[in-house]
């Protein structure tokens, strides 16, 4: 499908930037015909992926970089959240509801990403980093009504 627009955002791995990343991605995604509710779901998914990069990928080190690539196709949004951190040794296990390597966390981040987006792909190499790709389709009922 034709790429209509794209943006790449790189920022420091500090927790203040979770909100920035979420709202920036939603602002860009608003160029497609998403509803407010869709955008809220996108924000949650991005927050979870960026929080994971900070907390798990970089173990809360504040001097690392996180990159988000957002691509808009005709009626499809693709978001990639990329870190160069620890990586995930067992992706299947990581995706399991309530699995977490941190006993104080709920292990629901990937569950949220999966339920709010239409597709979730994870590329990860231990010691190299993680790329989380999420795709959300644009509600076709709005398109058809126009």
């Amino acid at each position: 499908m034709l790429l209509k627009n794209q943006v790449t955002i790189s920022f420091l791995s500090i927790s203040e930037n979770v909100a920035f990343a979420r709202v920036t991605t939603a602002a860009f995604a608003s160029q497609l015909e998403f509803t407010i509710n869709d955008l809220e779901e996108i924000k949650v998914a991005v927050s979870e992926a960026v929080a994971n990069a900070i907390v798990h990928g970089y173990n809360n080190a504040e001097d690392k970089m996180i990159t988000i690539e957002v691509k808009l196709y005709g009626n499809k949004l693709e978001i990639a959240v990329i870190d160069e951190g620890t990586g995930i040794p067992d992706i299947k296990q990581a995706l399991q509801p309530s699995f977490s390597t941190d006993p104080e966390r709920m292990g629901l981040g990937f569950v949220f990403m999966q339920s709010f987006m239409d597709k979730l792909k994870i590329n990860s190499v231990p010691g190299k980093g993680t790329k989380v790709i999420m795709i959300k389709n644009c509600n076709s009922s709005i398109k058809m009504a126009q």
Partner: protein, 77 residues
């Protein structure tokens, strides 16, 4: 330059800055009205057009007027 700054401060169409709370309230109202009219959820673009702001501006206002979205932040407040 000082004069230009003053002129623009007093009289700049770009700066009809409404507070984010005001915008967020307006967005909610407009959304409800459009649901009634269209029989479905409006897109962000339809809401933005109705209240005369850019889509991006509406997204930012909604974020600013809102409590945290992520469980991460909710847990770490």
């Amino acid at each position: 330059v000082g004069e230009i700054r003053r002129f623009l401060r007093d009289d700049n169409p770009v700066k009809v800055s409404r507070s984010v709370k005001e915008i967020a309230y307006k967005v909610q109202q407009t959304k409800e009205r459009l649901i009634g009219k269209l029989g479905r959820e409006p897109s962000i673009g339809e809401v933005a057009e109705e209240i005369g702001l850019s889509k991006e501006e509406v997204v930012i206002a909604l974020e600013a007027a809102q409590s945290p979205t992520s469980i991460y932040e909710t847990l770490h407040q």
